[in-house]
Structure formats: C-alpha cells, structure tokens
C-alpha cells in the first residue's frame, strides 16, 4: 500500500491533476469561512455589474480627507469623461478648421485639449457644418470648461425642519480618501450576474454543490456498477446473462436521453440537487459494470481464488478478500471518471432547463444556464460565464489527469 502510494505520487500527471483538484477543494472550503456572504443574496440593483472594487460614495464623502497633489489628476479626470465619440467630433472640427490630420492624436488627451483650447472658436465658420452640429460643439466646449474648473464641490444636507440646504463640508479636486478608512468597500472580483448576485461567492458555492453532485452520482454509479460487475463476473451463468442483458441494453440506449426523460418527469419542484445526482448515478453505471465484469472474469480462475474456494470460504468472503483488492485500483479510477462525468451531466441537464430547482442552491450548470438565458456571451459579460466554464474544465481536467496518471502506473504498457 505504502509502496503503491509512493509510486502514484511519483507520476507527474497524477500529481499535477491532484494539486489542481486539491487547490479547488481548498478554495471551496476556505473561501466561505473568510467571506461568509450568503451565496444567493441579490446585492446589486441592476444586472451584470463589472468586476471591480466598489467604494461607497456616501461613506467616502464623510471619510477623512487627505490632500495629494498629483500632476496628472486633471488629465485623467478629463480623459475619463471624454468618450470616443467626443474625441472623434473634436478631431473633425479641428480638421475642418484647417489643422492637418496628422498632427491630431485623439488618444493623447493633454495634446488634444491644448489644440482645442488654442483653436476653438464658436464663431468660426466651418464649411458644411449644420447648425445642430455647431450647437453640439458649443455644448462640448462648455462641458470641457466645466470639467477643467478648479472650484470645490459643496456637500449639503437638507434641514429636516426648514427644508433649506445646509453646508456640511467641501470636496476639493485634490482630496483623497484612503480606501481603508471608508466604512463600506466591497470587492467584487467577478462582478455580479443577471440577478445581481456576487458571482464569485455564488461560484464557490456552486462548485461545492456540483462537486457534491458529482460525488453522489459517481458513488452511486460505481457502487451499482461494482456490485453488478462482481456478481455477473464471478457467479456467471444465468445471473451473468441477466445482468449482461440489461447492461447491453443500457449501453445502446443513450443514458443522456434517459436522464432527460426522468428529470422531466420528476418535475421542477421535486428536483433538488441530491435528486438530480441520484438520477445521474442511476443512469450511468453501465460502463463500470462492463469493465468490472471483464476484470473479475480474468481473476475468477486464478489459483488463489480456487484455493479460497477449496478452503470453504463464503462467496462474500472470496469477493471481498480475493477479488476486490485486485480490482481496487481500477474501481478508484472508474470512480474518478464517474465523478467528473456526473458534474458534466448536471451541467448539460441544467442547460436544457432540467437542472435542480433554482431557489435553493446554485450549481455550475445552473449558473451557465442563467448566463445563456440572459445572453451574457453575446453581451460580452465574460465574468458571468467564463469563470464557470473554467471551473468545470479545471475540475474535469484535473480528474482525468489523475486518472491517466493512475492508468499509466497500473498499465505499464501505456507508459511512454
């Protein structure tokens, strides 16, 4: 046993897969302890907030001010207000005024502003310009002036009795607050989803649930497959015929179709995460049965098994002591594959709209489903679907790597 373990952990593929899997597991366990947010709480008003740090404006007004004199503050302020459309319009005017186009760089905000300030003249007559366009430039000019103003902002509150505004303080352009001193700051590394829920917190919980679904489905499938395979391979005869009949039957009848039919029949209200997992487990035992049976048949007539039979050991004893240990490595590999395909099956079902009911727990498949329904991929809201996809891919990839690693250890012919 110790030797086998050492051998396993010498396989590069296994260790790599194992580390990814353990990392995912650790994140899933530790994250909720550090940030105990409710995973399904709707926090944002509106959908698909971009990832970033959200600083409470109300609190930052009241937070202690620090004056920092930074040279590029003004430029950045204007640059953030000046959208692409305004920049293009400014270039058009300047070109129309007679500035060579090569001299104008619309990405360089200070240069553009300098050109604009020195040349802009509301009365200048540009050929081919409509009156509406002229007014647009006048407005643009005055809004630019407003942006450049160095006056302070006054913070005022309404007096409850008189209704008059009373000055509470002033905000200077050079005022800064330290984020640490603002009471409410929420870091949303993956933004919010279509319901306005924190994607990262939801994703962690969904990974938990999906892993659980995979584990339950995989265990059920492996257990059924192992039992049937052992019985069919060891006892043989009529038992083997019956079991193989059903196994062959369900090999050709696609499991996914059965899954759809059963899930749909159960109905949305009764479909919890565990129910879905059980159904997945019940429809995917076929491969394990076939493989275990083949292995057992090759073991059945080995000398040690015959010896055990002659010693009068019971069927259960022989199976547990003389057969199971020889196929244990194989069963572990089958379990790993079943878990990963269980997670994929849940995701597939959820995309069809047959996943667990949505009100209790998120799963990776449900998150995908909602992202699809709200067309996150077309709207470019990558944070709603890409992290989910990457998580699914990482889980299945790590499990398959572990499986390949084990396979190479136990089947030396596959080694490079």
């Amino acid at each position: 046993m110790k030797h086998t373990l050492r051998q396993i952990f010498h396989s590069g593929k296994f260790v790599f897969g194992f580390s990814i899997f353990v990392a995912i597991l650790l994140i899933v366990i530790i994250y909720p302890l550090l940030f105990p947010y409710p995973p399904l709480a709707i926090i944002s008003q509106g959908t698909f907030f971009e990832p970033g740090i959200y600083v409470n404006v109300y609190d930052s007004v009241n937070a202690p001010k620090h004056i920092l004199n930074l040279e590029d503050a003004n430029v950045k302020r204007i640059a953030s207000k000046l959208d692409q459309e305004a920049r293009l319009a400014m270039r058009d005017w300047l070109v129309g005024y007679g500035i060579p186009e090569a001299e104008i760089d619309i990405e360089d905000t200070p240069k553009l502003l300098e050109l604009w300030e020195t040349h802009y003249d509301p009365k200048a007559n540009i050929p081919g310009m409509t009156n509406a366009k002229r007014n647009y430039f006048i407005r643009l000019n005055s809004s630019l002036k407003g942006l450049l103003s160095t006056e302070d902002l006054i913070v005022a509150a309404k007096n409850a009795e008189t209704g008059a505004l009373e000055e509470k303080g002033t905000l200077m352009p050079a005022d800064y607050v330290n984020v640490k001193e603002v009471a409410n700051v929420r870091f949303l590394p993956l933004g919010t989803d279509n319901f306005g829920r924190d994607v990262l917190t939801e994703l962690v919980r969904a990974t938990q649930v999906s892993l659980l679904i995979g584990l339950v489905a995989g265990s059920i499938a492996t257990l059924i497959g192992l039992t049937l395979g052992l019985l069919s391979g060891y006892i043989g005869g009529i038992v083997d015929d019956i079991i193989m009949f059903f196994t062959n039957l369900f090999t050709v009848i696609p499991g996914f179709v059965m899954l759809i039919l059963i899930s749909f029949s159960i109905g949305q209200d009764k479909r919890g995460a565990v129910t879905v997992a059980v159904v997945i487990g019940l429809t995917s035992w076929v491969w394990t049965t076939r493989a275990v049976r083949a292995q057992v048949m090759s073991l059945r007539n080995r000398d040690h098994v015959n010896l055990s039979k002659l010693s009068g050991h019971s069927l259960v004893h022989i199976i547990l002591n003389d057969i199971l240990p020889y196929i244990a490595s194989y069963v572990v590999m089958a379990l790993i594959l079943q878990i990963s395909s269980g997670i994929l099956a849940e995701a597939g079902l959820s995309i069809l709209g047959l996943g667990p009911r949505t009100t209790e727990v998120p799963t990776l498949g449900l998150m995908m489903n909602w992202a699809m329904i709200y067309q996150a991929q077309i709207l470019g809201k990558w944070w709603a679907y890409l992290p989910v996809l990457i998580t699914i891919a990482l889980i299945t990839f790590s499990m398959n790597l572990m499986n390949t690693g084990l396979d190479q250890i136990f089947n030396p012919a596959l080694r490079d």
């Binding site: 062959n248 039957l249 090999t251 050709v252 009848i253 696609p254 499991g255 996914f256 179709v257 059965m258 759809i260 039919l261 059963i262 749909f264 029949s265 159960i266 109905g267 009764k270 990963s340 994929l344 995701a347 597939g348 995309i351 069809l352 709209g353 047959l354 995908m368 699809m372 991929q377 077309i378 470019g380 990558w382 679907y385 996809l389 699914i392 891919a393 299945t396 990839f397 499990m399 398959n400 790597l401 390949t404 012919a413 596959l414 490079d416």
Partner: protein
C-alpha cells in the same frame, strides 16, 4: 458470405430487442414517477380559472387524451397504436401544431449537423491519435495534452468559446439560428449560403470535442499494438515499416469502430446541448423549448426519436464492423 448471416441475425435480433425495450422505457418511465402528469399539465393550464367544474372538465379531457384513466396495459396499447401511425398528439407549447410536425421540421437539422460532425471528428481524431503514437516526441507532447484538455471540455463550453471568438468578437460567423432570420426556407443560393454559414460554428464545436476523445483512445490502442510481439517479429523478418504500420493501424482501428458504436449516444447528448447554445433549430433546441413550455408529449416523442436514431446508428456501425473485422470472418468459418 453465408458465414456472416449468423452475425447479422444476432445483431438484428439485438437491435429489435433494444428497440422494444427503449420503447417500453420511454412509455413507462414518466408514468412511474410520483405524481400525475395530467394533473401537472392541468394545473399549468388552469391557472386563472377559478371555477372548479371548468378545471375538472379540462382534467377529464386530458385524462381521456392520454388514457391515464385506463389500466396500464391498455394505455400502452393506445400509445403503441398512435406511435406506429406517427401520431404523437398535439404539442402543448406550440399548439395547434402537432408533435409530429414539430419533430419533422427539426429532425433534418439535427441529422445533418450531428452525424457528419461526429464522423469528421472521429476520422480526424483517429488520424491525430495514430500520428501521435507513431511519431512520438514533439508531436505527441503537443497533441496529447491538448486532446486530454479538449475531451474533458464540456460540449457546450466549446460551443460558447467558439461563439465568443468567431461570432461575437471577430464577427465572422452568425451566433444563432440555422439560417438568416430574414429568410424563408427555399432552394435559392441566398438561403443555401446562409445555411452553410450558420452551420460552421455548431459543426466545428462538435468536431473539436469528438477529436479529443478519439485521439486519446487511438493513441493508446496504437501504442499497445506497436509494442505487440507480431510487430517485433515482422521487423525481424525484415518486412517494410510502411507495411507493418498498415497492419498496426488496422488492428488499432477495430476497437475504435466499436468505441464509436458505443459512444455515439453520449456524443449525441453533448451535441444536443451544443445545438441549444447556438439556438440551432434541431432536436436539442426542441427539447429545451419543450422543457420550458412543460410540453410533455413533445419531450416524450423527442426522446423516443433520438433513441431510435442512436440505436439505428449503432446498428449500422456494427454491421459495417462485421465486414472489416477478420476475427468475425474467422469465427464464422469454423
């Protein structure tokens, strides 16, 4: 030729048995579930009707339609008679279209999308896997990890990523539908062009997934065969490398053909989900619509049709397998 007859008859027998069992399962599974499907449907339909006699009338009508007020065996006979006539009843969600009509308009899309994609993926995957096993070294080191990663990638994931890259970002190809939304199906160049353009993304997303799994399987088989004794023996005999390779891949290919027969059901399942991502007007999209509209007859019929498709495909592959596997010929010669 006579020797094959037993093999064919055996396969045909199995095909018929599985067919009947699939048919029975399709009938019985929904009826085994707790709860009355008719009650569920009626409660959906009757929302807003407060009068209890009205609800009861609707219930009676649907119970009659499905025959749920009759004993099980009689229900089965009715069901069988209807299905044999191609009558699956009306679709709830797309009333007054019949289920047969809905399926007829979507089945061709699915067949034309999935089977070419699976076959192309199978051929490309096997070629890559064989090359990886034969060339080893750098090629193997590149192809293998990519194949492992791709075969573990969920089918819908590949679909979404292709869609975002080629559909949304580069805008080379349309992101949804089977043809331009402004066109009517007809035999014109414009329509055919539109169909071909819409075909690309769903097709390649299925192909890419299939390639990964097949390449891994073929590589293992080919490595196994390359190390077999007959290869060494042939080398000692001085047989040309090219000729040996021919034998090796022929032998490695056979399990891959069986593998295709066995995994075609899984592949179709993945491809159905890929259809949904692209809103491709095939059976996968029909299932999703059926689920959304709580359309019981539609789901039941669609799953039956998909099962039949998969069973038939498996049967055809097994028959072909009979022709190419020399062991079957040898077994019959005895």
């Amino acid at each position: 030729m006579k020797g094959y007859r037993k093999y064919f008859l055996n396969k045909l027998g199995w095909f018929l048995i599985t067919f009947v069992c699939a048919f029975i399962l399709n009938f019985i599974l929904p009826r085994l579930m707790p709860g009355d499907p008719v009650a569920a449907i009626v409660s959906k339909l009757a929302q807003g009707i407060s009068e209890s006699t009205g609800v009861r009338a609707i219930y009676q009508q649907y119970a009659e339609l499905f025959g749920t007020n009759k004993p099980m065996y009689e229900q089965f006979l009715i069901y069988m008679k209807n299905v044999l006539r191609g009558d699956f009843g009306f679709s709830f969600s797309q009333y007054p279209r019949t289920v047969a009509d809905v399926i007829r308009s979507s089945i061709l899309w699915t067949v034309c999308l999935q089977f070419p994609a699976i076959i192309v993926g199978w051929v490309l995957g096997n070629t890559l896997g064989a090359l990886a096993a034969y060339l080893k070294g750098g090629f193997d080191k590149v192809v293998m990890p990519i194949s492992i990663f791709m075969s573990n990638f969920p089918a819908f994931g590949m679909a979404i990523i292709l869609m975002v890259i080629f559909g949304v970002t580069l805008e080379w190809l349309p992101t949804s539908g089977g043809y331009g939304f402004d066109l009517i199906p007809e035999f014109s160049w414009k329509f055919i062009r539109s169909v071909i353009v819409h075909y690309q993304l769903p097709f390649w997303s299925i192909v890419l997934i299939a390639i990964g799994g097949q390449a891994i399987g073929m590589r293992s088989m080919a490595i196994y065969e390359l190390n077999a004794d007959y290869v060494k023996f042939a080398r000692f005999m001085g047989i040309k490398d090219r000729k040996i390779i021919g034998y090796v891949f022929r032998n490695a290919m056979l399990p891959q053909v069986t593998g295709l027969a066995l995994s075609i059901g899984t592949m179709v399942g993945g491809a159905l989900v890929a259809e949904i991502v692209f809103s491709y007007p095939g059976l996968g999209y029909t299932i999703m619509n059926g689920v959304m509209g709580q359309d019981y007859p539609l789901i039941s019929a669609t799953t039956l049709i998909i099962t039949i498709m998969v069973l038939t495909a498996t049967f055809v592959i097994e028959i072909l397998y009979g022709f190419i596997d020399p062991r079957i010929k040898a077994a019959q010669a005895d």
